[in-house]
């Protein structure tokens, strides 16, 4: 009886602490929102395997840790008012990795998409729309069907949009857009606007910031077309280590350079 009341009071303390932390975070975001807040953030989720090796976790555990980190960061972004989030979940190049690892990532993706479909009510409550961006024909049938179903189910939401790049590379996207433009135009001239319309990423505006974690400075064939006036960021933290302080630092850096990027965007149109 005593232990039960003790655990009850413990959980109350934990809950109070949790809501205090959440309140402080909202205050921090209120201050940051004085300046311009990016409307589209793109992330290359690099460093999951290194994280697993660093902490001696098993194979595949790094990706799960990365998933938890993704959920937390998404919550912060939506609280801050970021409307579009794009993540580089799986590149066409990654199909060349060890078959066990590829299968592990595919299984994780299927598991998470099915989980999302189960929580449909919550997803719709938050108004999140999910889009899968990339050459979906390269995915196995169960994953592709689940992805298409998730897109259908959340299509009417518009408060926040999550774009998940699977089986995606920029060069493949460009080739696909060119092909679609050719199919559309039987005669006449293909203009740049036609090509841009057929890009997989045409459903969202260009990203304001492209973040690649674990200190790597390459873009690895991700959003090369869409980042003409985006801030490229390369924090040294591994993806599962990304947290609130990294996001705040990122947004403050963006606010410093936003006027310059705006003028560049207008000139390059």
């Amino acid at each position: 009886m005593e232990s039960k009341s003790k655990s009850n009071s413990n959980s109350i303390v934990v809950r109070l602490f949790g809501s205090w932390v959440s309140y402080m975070r909202r205050c921090l975001f209120r201050v940051i929102s004085v300046g311009p807040v990016p409307s589209h953030l793109a992330f290359i989720l690099d460093g999951n395997r290194r994280y697993a090796r660093k902490w001696g976790l098993g194979e595949g555990m790094g990706h799960r840790a990365g998933f938890l980190s993704l959920m937390t960061l998404m919550k912060y972004c939506y609280e801050l008012g970021v409307k579009y989030i794009t993540i580089y979940a799986f590149s066409i190049d990654n199909f060349k990795r060890k078959p066990d690892e590829v299968q592990g990532v595919m299984d994780l993706m299927l598991e998470k998409i099915e989980g999302l479909l189960k929580e449909e009510r919550i997803v719709n409550q938050y108004g999140v729309r999910v889009e899968f961006v990339g050459n979906l024909k390269l995915l196995s049938d169960p994953v592709r069907n689940a992805a298409e179903k998730a897109m259908r189910v959340t299509a009417h939401n518009s408060r926040a949009i999550l774009l998940i790049a699977v089986a995606y590379t920029s060069t493949d996207e460009i080739a696909h857009a060119a092909h679609q433009s050719c199919l559309d135009k039987n005669e006449g001239v293909i203009r740049l606007a036609d090509v841009e319309r057929h890009m997989y990423m045409g459903v969202a505006p260009d990203p304001d910031i492209l973040v690649r974690t674990s200190g790597e400075t390459r873009l690895s064939n991700f959003l090369l077309w869409q980042t003409s006036s985006s801030l490229l960021s390369s924090p040294k933290a591994l993806w599962p280590e990304m947290g609130l302080r990294h996001l705040v630092w990122l947004v403050l850096n963006f606010q410093r350079v936003q006027p310059y990027l705006e003028t560049k965007k207008k000139k390059l149109l």
């Binding site: 460009i174 400075t217 006036s229 490229l232 403050l252």
Partner: protein
């Protein structure tokens, strides 16, 4: 004489008037921001956060300047040996306004040549460098470096393969390639247009004159780490380094960036050896 004084006075008063209007505009923007942010307190807190960030970057700049000085003076021994052959193709992205300073660009090219680089691609979005390309090439060729005579008694002349591109060589080139492919397949009106692959695009770009190598390393000289529209299909696995504004470029910082690249390439090669997979 009185007329002249009157003209001077009028000009002076006009200048004061325009400065006052400018100040009024700025104050109005400030008030709007304070109002929309919900109060002076929040605005001051926000300014304070940015002040901290600015102080941090000021300190980082000081440390980097000191390090650049030490590197270029030869005090740091590990920077003496540089395996420049690892950088097969270098791209330099310049902000268009900074690219107007042709003498600075020439100085940068001299440094790159002195380090032993032979293939450099210069990019600026508005095509400013294309206008000064001839002048740059002429200046570079005219600099005959006395490298010591070889057996035939000829003086070796260093030269740089310089490629200069702008924004129109990026996205617009893709549109042109798409038109090229459309005409090519449209000629066979009966046949269906096959699914275009990446190699089809690459071949099409080559046919219309855009067959250029992918840079290993890209240095960005400008206020922001942004590639400003560099041709997308050439940027796949390029390492991107931000060097800061062109007007404050330092030789030591350049050596440091290139050396860091060569060290990373070494590790990447070793990693590849163990794994035999292509990493991201």
């Amino acid at each position: 004489m009185l007329d002249m004084d009157f003209v001077h006075l009028a000009t002076f008063l006009r200048r004061i008037e325009s400065k006052a209007l400018e100040l009024g505009d700025r104050m109005q923007k400030g008030y709007k921001r304070i109002w929309s942010s919900g109060g002076l307190g929040l605005y001051l807190l926000w300014l304070f956060m940015h002040l901290i960030v600015s102080i941090w970057y000021f300190a980082v700049d000081l440390v980097n300047s000191l390090e650049s000085y030490l590197i270029s003076s030869g005090f740091m021994k590990q920077y003496k040996d540089l395996d420049i052959s690892k950088v097969k193709y270098l791209a330099v992205v310049l902000d268009s306004e900074e690219a107007l300073d042709t003498m600075k660009v020439l100085e940068l090219l001299r440094w790159l040549t002195a380090m032993g680089l032979r293939n450099v691609c210069l990019y600026d979005p508005e095509g400013v460098l294309k206008r000064s390309k001839d002048a740059l090439s002429l200046w570079l060729r005219s600099e005959v470096v006395p490298n010591g005579a070889n057996k035939d008694g000829l003086v070796k002349q260093k030269y740089l393969n310089l490629e200069v591109i702008s924004f129109t060589d990026g996205k617009h080139a893709v549109a042109r390639a798409a038109n090229f492919l459309l005409k090519k397949h449209y000629l066979n009106a009966d046949a269906e247009i096959p699914e275009l692959t990446e190699s089809d695009m690459a071949d099409a770009l080559a046919e219309i004159g855009y067959a250029a190598p992918e840079p290993d390393l890209m240095l960005i000289y400008g206020p922001v780490r942004c590639h400003l529209g560099f041709p997308a299909w050439r940027l796949r696995y390029t390492e991107i380094v931000h060097m800061g504004p062109l007007k404050s470029m330092k030789f030591g910082a350049l050596i440091k960036a290139i050396r860091r690249y060569t060290m990373v390439r070494q590790n990447y090669g070793m990693y590849n050896c163990f794994n035999r997979q292509s990493a991201r």
